[in-house]
């Protein structure tokens, strides 16, 4: 099994979720993160004080799935999340050794 982690722009979440759903991904975990990268943040001025906010709001998607499904899922994410503008985000793939469904104690690919 693999874990796909995708960092995307927040307003793309719905589209990515739908795209993943279409290729049969049934579960995922999402968190709000702040990203730092090439995309530049903004400056806020409060009376005389300037603050540069270079961490931008991003969404991190995590999905664990069978090796066979990785390709398709990555394709779906790219398609849905790409705007072509800087800051679209990244996808990282890493190995998962075991997965367990707490409710049933099923293991491995059945669990995800």
């Amino acid at each position: 099994m693999k874990k796909i982690e995708a960092i995307i722009k927040p307003f793309k979440l719905e589209e990515v979720k739908d795209a993943l759903h279409d290729v049969g991904v049934e579960g995922m975990t999402v968190s709000e993160v702040k990203g730092f990268g090439r995309q530049k943040g903004h400056t806020e001025i409060y009376r005389g004080s300037e603050y540069t906010v270079d961490f931008l709001p991003k969404i991190k998607l995590e999905l664990v799935l069978a090796d066979s499904k990785v390709q398709e899922a990555v394709g779906a994410i790219i398609k849905a999340a790409k705007t072509g503008k800087i800051g679209d985000g990244k996808i990282f793939i890493s190995p998962i050794e075991e997965a367990i469904r707490i409710r049933t104690e099923e293991k491995g690919e059945q669990a995800v």
């Binding site: 409060y46 009376r47 005389g48 004080s49 603050y51 906010v53």
Partner: protein
């Protein structure tokens, strides 16, 4: 610290019974004629003295107590001024600090409200409004523990408002003034140090200043005291409230030093929405502050109400427009700052200037304090966290001065009583004198008190405490959970 306050409290409650309340037997007076009775009723509508109020009056009045319209107004105004601190400042200041310090701001405002009330009851009201002692400080024995302050008017201050209501109204001023200082020293002063500092500051700065400006025999009460050595005017507190707190705030924040990480860490307001809500409440409450300072629901109050509205609205618009021009965007903090600045600058003037004056003040208030906050502060690098100096000291100073130029007897005939000769002429020089005294007193006293408190209990929390945030460090609670 704790013990100090508790024993103070107990001592004070104990003493309150001891003050003698000698009842003076009033000389027998005649019943009023029908003409006098009608005249007294007209006096109520017109907010002037009853026949019986004259020192040498030979008749009684059938309406010797407070009058409903004026008393109702004054009670509502007192509630409105309280509203400015609780919850107005909770939100306005609380929204501007970082999340981890929001409750500490609440505690400071709330704690001052309680402590100052106890002081006010025991001796504060006496020191400010007890007449017959000195032009620079009121008579303690006159109203200690508010003895004798009942529902009848004290005609030194109002013909038709109950003195107990008047005393509570003025209490609200005594509460909010030190609470304004909190803005400059936010996020880095120990709670105990704030209490100790303010306890001393009230006695040394606020009570004398308020007596001098508003006490019937005060040294700087140009409107009512014919013998005032400085014939200055201050309708609702340009010197007493805003300059005193603002200049003290500057000195205190300099002695305290900047927040850890100042200039490096992001210290952006954690809740601009909260701040804006608080601004709305301040504005609404300020009607109590300004119009209520007429101590009657009369034409002067009506004028103060109007000029307050106009100055606040104009300044709230000008400040962000200037920002738009200069910084590229009109910010919400700009709107809020403009409104508050407009309210500050009109405060000493509101009952003395007309609508054109209010517009001029609104425009100035949208520009001058903006320059202080946006350019002076970064230049001089002092850490006036929430701009108490930039808004209240600069605004109050500006207001006190322009009041000298714009005041007109057209809207307030009381200006002709003792000031006919200097009104529109040299009044501004009197204003300068009062301003000078206010600044010197505030600056010197604050420095002395701050160093005393620093020596005795220390001013700042530990580095770790400040890093964690004062909410947890001083109060063991967090502003938001889950």
């Amino acid at each position: 610290m704790k013990k100090l306050f508790l024993s103070l409290l107990i001592a004070v409650v104990g003493f309150s019974g001891l003050v003698s309340r000698a009842a003076e037997a009033p000389p027998a007076k005649a019943d009023p004629t029908i003409d006098q009775r009608v005249a007294d009723l007209e006096a109520y509508v017109n907010n002037v003295a009853r026949g019986a109020d004259a020192a040498d009056a030979k008749v009684k009045s059938n309406v010797s107590g407070a009058g409903p319209g004026h008393n109702a107004f004054q009670m509502v105004c007192a509630a409105l001024v309280l509203f400015m601190t609780l919850p107005g400042l909770f939100l306005f200041y609380g929204g501007l600090v970082r999340k981890k310090n929001v409750l500490s701001v609440v505690a400071q405002c709330f704690g001052l409200a309680g402590m100052v009330t106890i002081m006010w009851w025991a001796f504060g009201y006496s020191f400010v409004f007890g007449d017959g002692s000195s032009p620079w400080i009121g008579s303690f024995s006159k109203f200690a523990f508010l003895a004798g302050v009942d529902s009848n008017p004290n005609t030194n201050y109002s013909y038709w408002v109950s003195q107990n209501v008047f005393s509570m109204y003025q209490l609200m001023f005594a509460i909010i003034t030190p609470a304004l200082i909190v803005g400059a020293i936010a996020e880095r002063m120990k709670f105990s140090a704030v209490l100790a500092f303010v306890a001393l500051w009230m006695v040394v700065v606020y009570f004398p200043l308020a007596h001098a400006v508003w006490g019937i025999d005060g040294a700087m009460n140009g409107v009512w005291n014919a013998k005032a050595s400085i014939k200055a005017i201050d309708f609702a507190g340009g010197t007493v409230v805003h300059m005193s707190s603002g200049w003290s705030a500057l000195v205190l924040c300099l002695i305290l030093g900047p927040r850890l990480g100042f200039g490096k860490t992001n210290m952006a307001p954690h809740g601009m929405l909260m701040c804006a809500i608080g601004t709305g409440m301040l504005w609404v409450g300020w009607y109590g502050f300004n119009a209520g300072s007429a101590v009657a629901a009369d034409g002067v109050a009506a004028n103060a109400f109007t000029t307050t509205t106009i100055a606040a609205a104009v300044a709230s618009f000008v400040w962000p427009m200037v920002e738009w021009l200069v910084k590229g965007k009109p910010s919400i903090l700009g709107f809020c700052s403009g409104a508050v600045a407009g309210l500050v600058v009109i405060t000493p003037a509101c009952g003395f200037v007309n609508m054109t004056g209010a517009v001029i003040i609104g425009v100035l208030a949208g520009i001058v304090p903006f320059l202080a906050c946006a350019y002076l502060k970064p230049l001089l690098k002092y850490d006036d966290a929430l701009d108490t100096f930039g808004v209240h000291a600069v605004g109050g100073t500006l207001g006190a001065l322009v009041t000298g130029f714009l005041a007109t007897a057209d809207v307030n005939s009381n200006l002709t009583t003792n000031l006919k000769d200097i009104l529109g002429k040299t009044l501004w020089i009197e204003q300068l004198k009062a301003m000078g005294i206010t600044i010197v007193l505030s600056v010197v006293a604050t420095a002395v008190i701050a160093y005393i408190v620093k020596a005795v209990i220390g001013l700042r929390p530990t580095e770790e405490g400040e890093t964690i945030g004062l909410d947890l460090t001083d109060h063991g609670e967090e502003g938001y959970h889950g």
